[in-house]
């Protein structure tokens, strides 16, 4: 169980998730409970079978785990008691670690978010979204958010603060230690 949560720098990066899913009996309760399964290329049940079989390419080319919104319905209802939402999270981490990112947007968003926390300790929404849109190198995506951005600005809910570009990050020490501990594991 512990291994599912840890991201494995082992020979087979999938081994920890495979172990958690050994007991999956393919009943499909997870798929039936999933709010977003209709938008997935493989249903959660199919994904777990792919994990059991170790079909790495198929798994990491799939968008399924990036469409998990962590509602925890599958985890709640799994008759085997498997930690399925955590397994989705573990696959996201593995995809990032392995550089297997057909879904670059999601990974970039998460990384930008955590960089923002490293810098300021708390998320500065405006600073974070600006950096995220720049990192996408795609001028179209931000346009979809412009109406919301304008609404938020009008309400004074987001404000442009001076970005910290060069100074030390508030959370540098903790982040560095975490990186060191994860490299050791």
């Amino acid at each position: 169980m512990k291994d599912t949560a840890e991201h494995g720098a082992h020979a087979d990066p999938l081994s920890a998730v495979r172990k958690e899913l050994e007991a999956c009996m393919q009943c499909g309760t997870c798929t039936g409970s999933c709010a977003n399964s209709s938008a997935m290329d493989f249903t959660p049940r199919q994904l777990w079978r792919m994990v059991q079989l170790g079909l790495k390419d198929e798994i990491f080319n799939s968008k399924t785990f990036w469409l998990c919104s962590s509602c925890y319905y599958c985890t709640l209802r799994c008759p085997r008691g498997l930690k399925l939402t955590e397994a989705m999270g573990a696959l996201k981490r593995l995809a990032v670690a392995e550089g297997r990112l057909p879904e670059k947007k999601s990974a970039l968003f998460y990384r930008t978010f955590l960089d923002n926390v490293r810098r300021y300790g708390r998320v500065r929404e405006m600073d974070m979204m600006t950096r995220y849109f720049f990192s996408l190198k795609n001028p179209v995506t931000p346009l979809g958010f412009a109406p919301l951005g304008v609404k938020l600005m009008v309400k004074g809910k987001i404000s442009a603060q001076m970005p910290n570009l060069f100074g030390a990050g508030k959370m540098d020490a903790i982040y560095r230690k975490v990186e060191e501990l994860e490299a050791k594991a």
């Binding site: 169980m1 512990k2 919104s69 962590s70 708390r122 998320v123 609404k151 020490a173 594991a185």
Partner: protein
């Protein structure tokens, strides 16, 4: 009654009205909130997607700060994502495998230690269980008779940790809504997903979730929420969702402490209702006539 208060990042920005209304309501109910000094982000859903250990250390830092104060109190958390992350640290450090030691090695960089001494609790849990219907109804100054409220709980306050309500058909908001004199909109969507962070990374998928919820809430005067992400998703895209559904799905969406606050006679300014994107004139007038 005294609690540590962990607002979380959203409540400083896009969910300021949740922060303001929570503080105002708790003040009116005689509940003392001790904001954790120097609190930092819980990692949100990004932590888990990037680094497991970081996703544990970030929330643990805040629990450690509260412990350091030496005060014995539970931690009140209004944001469901923050709440889940804080609960996760409690749960995962109990699974063995030296996770607690590793977290503390990282926290030692700031001279902090996490000893599992503080219990994080959702705002709704505290309102429903500690404050309770009786105390709320005793403070009601204007009864919201005839106003129909759809209670929306979202996901992470309820699952995976079953702390204070049924994780599929929750009811903990109902006695509170009834205490105000309002009526509960009967629906079974209270625990369904709003699309959460997919609104940023997979927008069309999240818009479908929002559309389903707004359609099911038809007939209610408003939806009440207990999570900044749910609130943002439900209130910000109503025009777009209505256009693709071909019908008007517009509906007022308020944070639960805003609705309770109104019934307790707090002002719209105190509850920062001017910051809501979906608070209709019709509902406003209905309430002001009470």
């Amino acid at each position: 009654m005294k609690y540590f208060y962990y607002p979380g990042c959203s409540l400083e920005g896009t969910a300021q009205e949740y922060d303001a209304s929570t503080r105002a309501l708790m003040g009116a109910l005689g509940v003392e909130l001790l904001e954790i000094e120097d609190w930092t982000c819980c990692g949100a859903s990004a932590g888990e997607a990037v680094s497991y250990l970081l996703s544990m250390v970030l929330p643990a830092r805040n629990l450690a700060l509260a412990e350091k104060s030496g005060i014995e109190a539970d931690m009140l958390v209004p944001c469901s994502a923050c709440y889940l992350n804080l609960k996760k640290v409690e749960d995962h450090t109990g699974r063995g495998d030296h996770l607690l030691d590793r977290i503390n090695e990282a926290l030692a960089q700031e001279g902090l230690t996490y000893a599992k001494g503080i219990r994080p609790r959702h705002l709704l849990d505290i309102l429903a269980k500690d404050v309770g219907q009786g105390r709320v109804s005793g403070k009601v100054k204007r009864r919201l008779e005839g106003i129909r409220v759809a209670p929306y709980y979202g996901c992470q306050a309820l699952r995976p940790y079953e702390e204070f309500d049924d994780p599929q058909l929750p009811t903990s908001m109902e006695p509170l809504i009834e205490a105000l004199g309002a009526e509960v909109h009967p629906w079974e969507m209270g625990a369904k997903c709003c699309g959460a962070g997919l609104m940023t990374t997979k927008k069309p998928v999240a818009l479908n979730r929002v559309g389903e919820l707004l359609a099911a809430a038809k007939g209610a005067d408003c939806i009440v929420t207990v999570c900044p992400m749910c609130q943002m998703n439900l209130e910000s895209f109503q025009g777009k969702v209505s256009r693709s559904a071909g019908e008007d799905l517009g509906l007022s969406v308020l944070y639960l402490p805003q609705l309770i606050g109104l019934a307790l006679g707090l002002s719209e300014q105190d509850l920062k209702l001017n910051l809501n994107f979906a608070y209709s004139k019709t509902l406003q007038q209905k309430i002001n006539l009470k």
